[in-house]
């Protein structure tokens, strides 16, 4: 058993660490709930239509098997798509004028249904469409042809069924080759439906012909062309507008930020900066002491940095000392490295002395409990990034996952290092004093401190053989 105060402190520390972890988990789960809810409408878990091939939509983990089209099918679909292309070109000319009107009327109409199987077949084709916006027209046609929800659901369901029965699948990851070829049949099947529906009446006509899928924003009210298209499988393919209030606020917001950053001309910034420094200096002088301008927080942080520096320098020194120089040049380099390390160490020591002098001279108050030293350090980044968040571009989900995993790992290492220091401070003294169950304690402490609690060593009594 550990002494009471030591136990208390250690348990408190570990519980804090657990709380921090739990808090992260809570936030993460909150975000996960939101994301899952959003994705549910795109990848419905079950579809209302009877499916011969049940394809439950998980969040994309289990790709259903893709079937490869035969060459006969490919030929057929090529012909079909060419025919479609021609037809669309004709239609486009006719319906351009009425487009905007239809789009507007459609928006109110399509607001109701959120999850339909239209989303299902349209998604695979839609996904391919992201990639093919510049490529061959046939593919583009399919995108335009795949209609959104304005079409009566039953029609789409049947089309969807046929799609599924025929091809049986929606692979979750759109691979380039076989997928693209797989899509056209579904689109081709749907296309005639769409065309005929269009003939029948204006109220069923909710589909805006577009020769090529354009990744343009659904938010501008601008050109009729741009009003509609959206990418992959977003059910509201025709018109997607963020609410008016939001758009107004967002544009006003960005205008104001722009105004703000442009208003900071260099002249005014300089004047303000000079005034500020003068004020700060005056404050410093009237406080009755020269002061080094350092706060207790900054000092502690620097001391921590110097400790890290020491560790890294030592590691480099060990590397150099253990390396066996093969020739003169390497020997010389080793020598230079060691001397360089020595110089840096002296600099660090000097800095440490300076910090010590600052602390003593200013008689800084006791460290406030619970504060992490790095907190008040103004991070080198300046004020710009605070204006509007910078962009971080990532190209694939793997990249994003790597990035996030690294961030988590850094946080975990941070926590581990902190716990290590705390445990060292508390437990090593206990091992020093031999008490009852010393061996068990020693073994446990070794495991906690040296192996992160993951492995244990074995202790054997060395009994003299009789």
């Amino acid at each position: 058993m550990l002494p009471a105060d030591c136990s208390r402190r250690l348990v408190a520390e570990l519980r804090d660490a657990l709380d921090a972890c739990a808090e992260r988990q809570r936030q993460l789960e909150r975000s996960l709930r939101v994301s899952r809810r959003l994705l549910r409408t795109w990848e419905p878990a079950e579809t209302p239509a009877p499916q011969p091939t049940p394809a439950p939509e998980t969040s994309g983990e289990a790709p259903s098997p893709e079937s490869t089209p035969s060459s006969q099918d490919l030929k057929e679909l090529e012909l079909l798509t060419q025919a479609l292309e021609k037809a669309v070109r004709v239609r486009k000319g006719i319906s351009k004028t009425g487009e905007r009107h239809k789009a507007l009327s459609l928006k109110s109409g399509s607001a109701a249904t959120s999850a339909t199987t239209a989303s299902a077949p349209s998604r695979p084709s839609g996904q391919a469409s992201c990639r093919v916006s510049e490529t061959k027209p046939p593919r583009g046609i399919q995108q335009t042809v795949v209609p959104a929800r304005g079409l009566p659901e039953s029609r789409l369901l049947s089309v969807g069924d046929r799609t599924r029965m025929g091809r049986g699948s929606r692979a979750t990851k759109p691979g380039p080759g076989p997928r693209d070829q797989q899509i056209p049949p579904s689109a081709a099947l749907q296309a005639p439906e769409a065309f005929t529906l269009k003939e029948k009446g204006a109220d069923v006509d909710c589909w805006l012909p577009q020769p090529l899928w354009k990744p343009c924003s659904g938010l501008e009210g601008g050109s009729p062309q741009s009003a509609a298209s959206l990418s992959t499988g977003f059910p509201d393919r025709i018109l997607l507008r963020l609410p008016m209030a939001y758009r107004k606020a967002a544009s006003r917001n960005s205008r104001l930020w722009a105004q703000l950053s442009s208003a900071q001309t260099s002249d005014s910034m300089d004047a303000a900066a000079t005034a500020k420094t003068q004020f700060l200096q005056k404050m410093q002088m009237t406080s009755g002491g020269p002061g080094s301008g350092l706060s207790a927080a900054a000092v502690e942080a620097e001391v921590g940095l110097l400790r890290t520096a020491c560790l890294l320098l030592r590691r480099r020194m060990e590397e150099v000392l253990s390396a066996d120089p093969a020739d003169c040049m390497q020997e010389y380099r080793c020598l230079l490295t060691l001397e360089g390390l020595q110089a840096i160490t002296e600099q660090c020591l000097h800095r440490l002395q300076e910090l010590r002098a600052a602390v003593v001279g200013r008689q800084l108050g006791p460290w406030p409990v619970g504060r992490r030293p790095g907190a008040s350090l103004p991070c080198g980044g300046g004020t710009d990034p605070l204006w509007s968040p910078q962009l971080l571009l990532y190209s694939s989900t793997q990249e994003l996952q790597t990035l996030e995993a690294l961030r988590l790992r850094l946080a975990m290492l941070d926590q581990q290092i902190h716990l290590e220091k705390v445990l060292m401070a508390e437990l090593l003294p206990l091992v020093g004093t031999q008490g009852p169950h010393w061996l068990a304690l020693c073994r446990a402490v070794h495991s906690l401190l040296c192996e992160g609690g993951e492995r244990f060593l074995t202790v054997l009594r060395d009994e003299p053989a009789d």
Binding site: L335, P366, R371, A375, L449, C450
Partner: protein, 395 residues
């Protein structure tokens, strides 16, 4: 009077000051009215409580020790608590004037001093901008790259009083194991979230009015969904105002002078070792090379430069200079296929590189600490003969 600016044109100053104060009082949380500022200028006591409260509100998100001011707790802390918190926070930030520390704790005096403190805070750093940034609505999927903003942790409650009494070390081992397991769970949840985020980003491609972004974020997508459901009025309310995942940083126990001593000792020991290693080598080298010709000097210079670069890189690993290259503050995630090198914004690949180097640094630190422990334990265990210590395999 927000800032004591020395203006060249007094005429302009007279007009601008009231406007500045009015703006300030609108912007600051719990903003006192301009009248309070005016009274404080004359050091009127009635202005003091409002200013104490203002300073408390302004400083508390920046300090981890919010003195029970966490939003979770319903009631605002007492005046004394606020006064103490403000004093301690200002002191730790390096506020130079001692007069502040001497103000009475009932918060009844010192309005002019408080005004000075406010001015000092405003002059030191982008206080208003930071406040605005904290309260603004986050529209994008943001990922914080820098730790310092993340310390807006609402005041952690005082360490709970463990009524448990002495515990067995096995309890500690159990807690450590639990922690390890939690981290693993966290990592898998995080990976799932990334996958979902990637999907949402690619599905909504082409929907955003801002071309440089190209796709919607989760918040914006939610806006859209809820707008369809007819909740257009509450749509703006769904945007999450709080920061998306502040990283929670463990507290460091009070060390004060102890840490300094420790580091000083370590550095001195290191210096001794280095001197012991370098001097004989230098002597030996000089002896060998003494008579060598001038063609050596060029080679020597090249080596010196190379070593210089290596050491500079090493120094950057711990100095803040290395971290400054990293942008500060949260970044909005944008999925972009091409990864066009021309556009603005960071590339994930670069950030990953930086994070990896930081990871290596931290791992080195942890390894070093563990090694120290091992040596220390070996020393202590060696005191007892007659035992064989078999280290765990796989190291």
């Amino acid at each position: 009077m927000g800032r004591r600016r020395r203006r060249v044109d007094r005429g302009a100053a007279v007009g601008a000051l009231p406007k500045a104060i009015a703006a300030l009082s609108r912007t600051l949380p719990a903003g006192p009215s301009p009248e309070i500022f005016r009274r404080a200028k004359f050091d009127r006591p009635e202005a003091a409580p409002a200013l104490w409260q203002l300073l408390f509100r302004v400083l508390s998100p920046l300090s981890a020790d919010g003195a029970s001011a966490s939003p979770a707790q319903g009631e605002p802390p007492s005046t004394e608590a606020q006064v103490r918190a403000v004093k301690s926070e200002l002191r730790s930030q390096g506020y130079p004037r001692r007069a502040l520390a001497q103000l009475p704790e009932d918060g009844s005096q010192g309005s002019r001093e408080l005004l000075l403190a406010l001015a000092w805070l405003l002059a030191r750093g982008p206080l208003l901008e930071r406040l605005l940034a904290q309260t603004r609505v986050r529209l994008g999927d943001e990922i914080p790259l820098c730790e310092c903003e993340a310390l807006a942790r609402p005041g952690a409650p005082v360490p709970r009083v463990e009524a448990d009494g002495p515990v067995d070390i096995r309890h500690l081992q159990w807690l450590m194991g639990k922690l390890r397991f939690q981290w693993r769970k966290l990592i898998t949840s995080q990976q799932e979230q990334c996958a979902l985020l990637g999907k949402i980003h690619s599905y909504t491609r082409g929907c955003h009015s801002d071309r440089s972004l190209g796709h919607l974020s989760v918040a914006e997508t939610e806006l859209l969904r809820d707008a369809e459901g007819g909740q257009q009025d509450t749509v703006l309310g769904t945007c999450p105002p709080e920061a998306s995942q502040p990283t929670f940083v463990p507290r460091i126990p009070e060390r004060g002078a102890g840490e300094w001593e420790l580091v000083a000792r370590e550095l001195q020991a290191l210096q001794e070792e280095l001197r012991g290693a370098a001097e004989p080598r230098r002597a030996a080298w000089e002896a060998r090379v003494g008579g060598w010709g001038p063609e050596w000097s060029a080679v020597q210079r090249a080596s010196r430069e190379a070593v210089g670069l290596e050491l500079a890189a090493l120094q950057r690993a711990w100095e803040r200079g290395g971290a400054a290259a990293q942008p500060h503050g949260p970044c909005r995630l944008v999925k972009s296929d091409a990864g066009a090198s021309g556009g603005p914004g960071l590339r994930a690949a670069q950030v990953i590189e930086v994070l990896r180097s930081r990871e290596a640094c931290l791992e080195a630190v942890l390894c070093q600490l563990q090694r120290q422990c091992r040596q220390e334990l070996a020393r202590l265990a060696g005191a007892l003969p007659g035992l064989i210590w078999i280290l765990p395999p796989g190291r």
